[in-house]
């Protein structure tokens, strides 16, 4: 299973739920960056910022 397959699933689900793919990629990348940290402080705020930014761009 390669990244392309994962990306295809992501695209399919994003389309189904009307969520920007870039937003999901960005959030997943953020989660990858903090996954190994014991304290994932601020992740919720950063996710929220991404979501709001995505909404702002959409506007």
């Amino acid at each position: 299973m390669d990244d392309g397959q994962v990306d295809d699933i992501l695209k399919e689900l994003c389309k189904e739920h009307n969520v920007p793919v870039e937003l999901m990629r960005e959030m997943l990348e953020e989660e990858r960056n903090v996954r190994h940290l014991k304290r994932r402080r601020g992740i919720a705020e950063r996710l929220r910022t991404m979501i709001e930014k995505s909404l702002g761009v959409a506007e």
Binding site: D2, L13, V19, L47
Partner: protein, 662 residues
């Protein structure tokens, strides 16, 4: 291969005194297996532990304090290190981990201090080294890549522990998606709370709005009051100014008013004198006029006298005419003339004509005589007038009249001058004359008192305006704040929806990924298993339980129970599972296997040796000659990257590693 060891170097590590290196060299197509031979106790597991410690500073069954080479410590060297050079995704990495201990009496005491260095493409990393290492090989995944062949049997159990399951999911890249799912769920809950707060804020905003409007009305009213007061103040100030000026003017005008009154008295005096002179002059002028008409009267008198005389003579003629008329009439009544002759017709006509003429004269004389009476009266009056004029004539002395006229003229001039001055001064003192100065000053005082009171009221009104403005500003600020909060929270509704949708994506993604990863692992591990197992006719495939625990399924569809499997079969399942896991991820770290064939019979071992070259990663086998007899090596020649031997110096009690040419 995205991850390939180039060189491994140990310094004073366990049985390896001094510096010992293993050169793997660059990766070679189709040659992914390196065999490190060593007898039991020579240092194979020490190598495995070194690699395990290098990446995350942890080992399954040792503490770093126990890893210092005994001879080095005895010699006073208190530092050990393990380093590796490897390539990862096309970049060159050099990772060094050191431990420095305190030594006392030839023994390590206390806890060693560890340091780690990482250079990527020769560039030393200053920060985030642990994060970078974890990105290359997650700590919990390390067990699937660097392991003891005798220990992997645990992956062939009925159920995995939570830690193992988490580690498997980590290798499969699930946790970040699962974490995202959980984080988005929490974020949704936060946003729901904010949305609820938004509803409350909107209600509060409405209240604030109403308060602001009320504050605005109050401010407008206060301003209007202030405006009115200022207007009144200004008007009052003007009144006071005018009153002040008026008071000053009136004060200054008192002397002039007195003078004006004098002028008026003088005017009255002049008027009286002029009237007197006028009357006197009228008398004089009457005399003078009469004197002027005297000659005319005289002439009239003479003419009347002539008329009277004439009338008197006319009387005489009238008497004569009457006598003649009588005579003629008598003649006409007789037939004879005085001469005695008979009156003929001719004479008679003559006499009649003469009679008519006389009668006309007589009528005319009578009318004249009638007028004479009136003439006589007029003459009498005129004579009386003449006598009076003659009396007055003596009185009407021209010098007296002239003096009177001059005096009158002078008086008139004086009066005009006085009148002019009065008019001028009246204009100037208009309204001042009748004013009550005292009252003006009283009014002025009252107005000034009013002004002072009004100043106080204005100050109060200004304070009210300031208060109202401050209150309004506060309401406005609160309103702005509330509006911003609402505006921010308005986005919350949209953000909440998007978060929920993203959460659904993440949730389904976890499910889809797990399913797909599981399928992939099952496929890969079945392939490996089929290569390794010696019961290909019985065993069809391996399936994974929910917790990724592998289970053999026979061709008849039967799920094999763990207790029905031999130790070797369990090891094969575990290896197949690790190999399947390895192939199902993007990690592709090298497999470093210590004594991998511990429980395997020849058949399984050969199957494994057949499978290893097919793995898409570097494989380092730490083996005894029993695990992998040297005579088997030629069979691996096509995929062998290198052979290394651990040599033990029994005299010196230390091991070293030598590369043996293939």
């Amino acid at each position: 291969m995205s991850f390939h060891f180039l060189r491994l170097t140990l310094r004073d590590w366990l049985v390896y005194e001094g510096e010992v290196s293993i050169n793997f060299g660059p990766s070679q197509d189709g040659r992914n297996i390196w065999v490190v031979y060593g007898l039991n106790g020579y240092g194979k597991t020490s190598l495995l532990r070194a690699i395990q410690w290098l990446f995350h500073g942890q080992m399954p069954d040792r503490h770093i304090r126990t890893c210092f080479n005994h001879h080095a410590v005895q010699a006073g060297r208190n530092e050990l290190s393990v380093s590796a050079e490897f390539t990862y995704n096309g970049q060159h990495y050099h990772l060094i981990r050191r431990a420095e201990a305190s030594i006392n009496d030839g023994e390590v005491v206390g806890y060693p201090r560890e340091t780690v260095e990482l250079a990527v493409d020769r560039e030393v990393q200053q920060a985030g080294i642990a994060d970078k290492i974890d990105q290359i090989l997650p700590k919990e995944c390390q067990q699937f890549f660097f392991f003891d062949g005798l220990e992997i049997e645990k992956y062939a159990t009925d159920t995995h522990t939570d830690e193992t399951q988490e580690a498997i999911e980590t290798v499969l890249g699930i946790p970040e998606v699962r974490n995202l799912c959980n984080d988005l769920e929490k974020l949704s809950q936060d946003l729901e709370r904010e949305r609820d707060q938004l509803l409350r804020d909107q209600s509060a905003y409405k209240d604030l709005s109403e308060q602001k409007e009320e504050a605005k009305v109050e401010l407008d009213a206060a301003k209007e009051t202030l405006r009115n007061l200022r207007s009144q103040y200004s008007s009052l100030q003007e009144q006071i100014d005018r009153l002040g000026e008026r008071a000053s003017t009136l004060e200054r005008a008192q002397d002039e008013i007195a003078y004006l009154r004098d002028l008026r008295r003088r005017k009255e005096d002049l008027k009286e004198r002029l009237d007197n002179y006028e009357a006197e002059l009228q008398g004089y002028l009457k005399v003078v006029a009469q004197r002027l008409v005297f000659p005319l009267l005289k002439e009239q008198l003479d003419r009347l006298q002539t008329q009277v005389n004439k009338a008197e003579r006319t009387g005489e003629r009238l008497a004569h005419a009457k006598a003649q008329t009588e005579f003629i009439r008598n003649l006409l009544n007789d037939t004879l003339c005085v001469c005695g002759r008979e009156l003929d017709k001719e004479a008679r006509r003559f006499l009649e004509k003469r009679l008519e003429e006389l009668e006309d004269q007589l009528a005319s004389s009578r009318r004249l005589q009638e007028r004479v009476g009136s003439y006589t009266v007029a003459v009498t009056e005129l004579k009386d007038l003449e006598s009076r004029i003659r009396y007055i004539e003596g009185l009407a002395d021209p010098d007296v009249i002239q003096r009177a006229l001059l005096t009158k003229y002078k008086l008139q001039v004086d009066r005009e001058e006085v009148e002019q001055e009065i008019a001028m001064r009246e204009e100037k003192l208009k309204g001042s004359e009748d004013a009550d100065v005292g009252q003006v000053f009283i009014t002025l005082g009252e107005k000034k008192q009013n002004l002072a009171e009004m100043e106080e009221r204005i100050r109060n009104a200004e304070e009210e305006v300031k208060k109202a403005e401050k209150f309004l500003d506060e309401r406005q600020d609160a309103l702005n704040e509330a509006a911003r909060a609402i505006d921010d929270k308005r986005r919350v509704v949209d953000a909440l929806q998007l978060t929920r949708d993203a959460h659904a994506v993440a949730r389904e993604m976890v499910e889809r990924l797990l399913r797909l990863r599981r399928d992939a692992i099952e496929r890969h591990m079945t392939n490996v298993f089929q290569m390794v197992t010696n019961k290909k006719q019985e065993y069809d495939r391996i399936e994974l339980a929910e917790d990724f625990a592998p289970c053999i399924v026979t061709h008849s569809g039967q799920m094999m129970k763990r207790n029905e499997l031999s130790a070797g079969e369990k090891e094969v399942i575990a290896f197949s599972f690790i190999a399947g896991l390895n192939q199902s991820t993007q990690t592709n770290a090298p497999l470093v296997m210590d004594t991998p064939f511990g429980h395997l019979d020849v058949s399984h071992r050969n199957g494994l040796l057949e499978a290893l070259p097919k793995l898409p990663c570097q494989v380092v086998l730490l083996a005894t000659d029993r695990d992998l007899p040297e005579e088997e090596l030629p069979n691996l020649a096509y995929c062998l990257g290198g052979r290394l031997d651990i040599i033990r110096d029994e005299i010196g009690e230390k091991s070293r590693i030598e590369t043996t040419p293939l």
